[in-house]
Symmetry: C2
Subunit: 201 residues, 2 copies
DNA sequence: ACCTGAACACCGTTCAAGT
DNA sequence: ACCTGAACACCGTTCAAGT
């Protein structure tokens, strides 16, 4: 994980990892089944680091904090979101995470199937948003006005009028990642709350 | 793309692609800058295939159809979602796609910044859902009751009670991918509509 | 203008040989 | 029990040499 943080996930090779550990690549196979095993281990650690408040916190607040916690993890480990959704779920950390999230939703009164759907919707959004952010290069907000201006300059005149209109907005005032993330999250959470109120218990 | 459809994205190597074309790997470099160029091209084609209704369709219906179209593309090309969010946006297909989606939202009356937030939220969800689905192996609904039963059998007794409760539900009646996707999508779309009604024009 | 063969600097993984 | 060197079957990419 240190190696990935410092040099990027693409530098996590069996040979590179071995070098960093002062050992030969072949030696790693005495401790690990293969590269997939290493990556799954990283996913496990990272998922375990997402915390889900459970006792005495209202479900909506708990889900919001879980999202914030996940985003903190992604900020510390830029490779995490991509790795999580490039590997099939397996580790026990994933099971525990799912259990805690579902626990909050069931306790709030959502029927099991609705809780599962809500879990899927929230996680799709949280992970999807991070991936989107990463490959739109929206990482540093300071640079977004410049990026918007560059986009405007690059677009052929007359083409993509709607895109241009939106880009002008961001050329004037920078993109706010926090606010954009909160926008979608609130749509989901408010919708879930309405559902709960419509059919309580 | 045929190669990826038939043998998986991991079989799309410069050497493998060349073999399929009856040519040497080195020859490809006369037509393409490198492997990244090939992958970006695939993303471009795939994004261009997502259609966004524009004329005479209500915005909500247009966004729903766009989601359905995207899911159709992902069904035809299982590697597409993963590839899209592993590469930085660049191609003109992406710009055009963004322009069309933003066009629908602006025409519906959303202010530019809200339209951008809505676009981000919807796309995060659509892509995120697909990635989630792919690595939870929820591809074939027929197998989901078995999968749920296996999960139940594998979980240590007494552990993960909430997860067990939900899994029992799916062991009894299979997971419905369509319905689950629609659940989250409706939360977002209904929330957006409420926003629009609260501050019209 | 395009193709090829050969090479370079990498991968992940295996396995006999060492200690 | 763990490590190593060497090998195998791959990668992406470059480049001189061909046509």
């Amino acid at each position: 994980m240190d190696l990935a943080d410092e040099s990027g996930i693409e530098s996590v090779t069996m040979r590179g990892l071995a070098r960093r550990l002062g050992v030969e690549a072949a030696s790693l196979y005495n401790h690990v089944a293969g590269k997939g095993d290493v990556l799954d281990g990283m996913v496990d650690v990272v998922v375990a680091a997402i915390d889900v408040p459970s006792g005495g916190v209202e479900w909506k607040e708990a889900m919001r904090r879980r999202a914030v916690s996940a985003r903190g993890v992604f900020a510390r480990h830029p490779w995490a979101a991509g790795l999580i959704d490039s590997r099939e779920r397996s580790g026990s950390a994933g099971l525990s995470y799912a259990d805690r999230v579902l626990g909050v939703l069931l306790a709030a009164g959502f029927p099991p199937r609705v809780a599962a759907n809500a879990f899927m919707a929230l996680d799709s959004y949280i992970l999807g948003f991070e991936r989107q952010r990463a490959n739109l290069s929206l990482s540093d907000e300071a640079g977004t006005t410049d990026a918007a201006r560059e986009t405007l300059a690059a677009v052929p005149p007359g083409a993509f009028p709607s895109l241009v209109r939106v880009a002008e907005e961001y050329a004037a005032e920078p993109y706010d990642d926090e606010a954009t993330f909160a926008f979608g999250l609130s749509l989901l959470l408010d919708g879930l709350q309405r559902l709960l109120e419509a059919a309580p218990g």
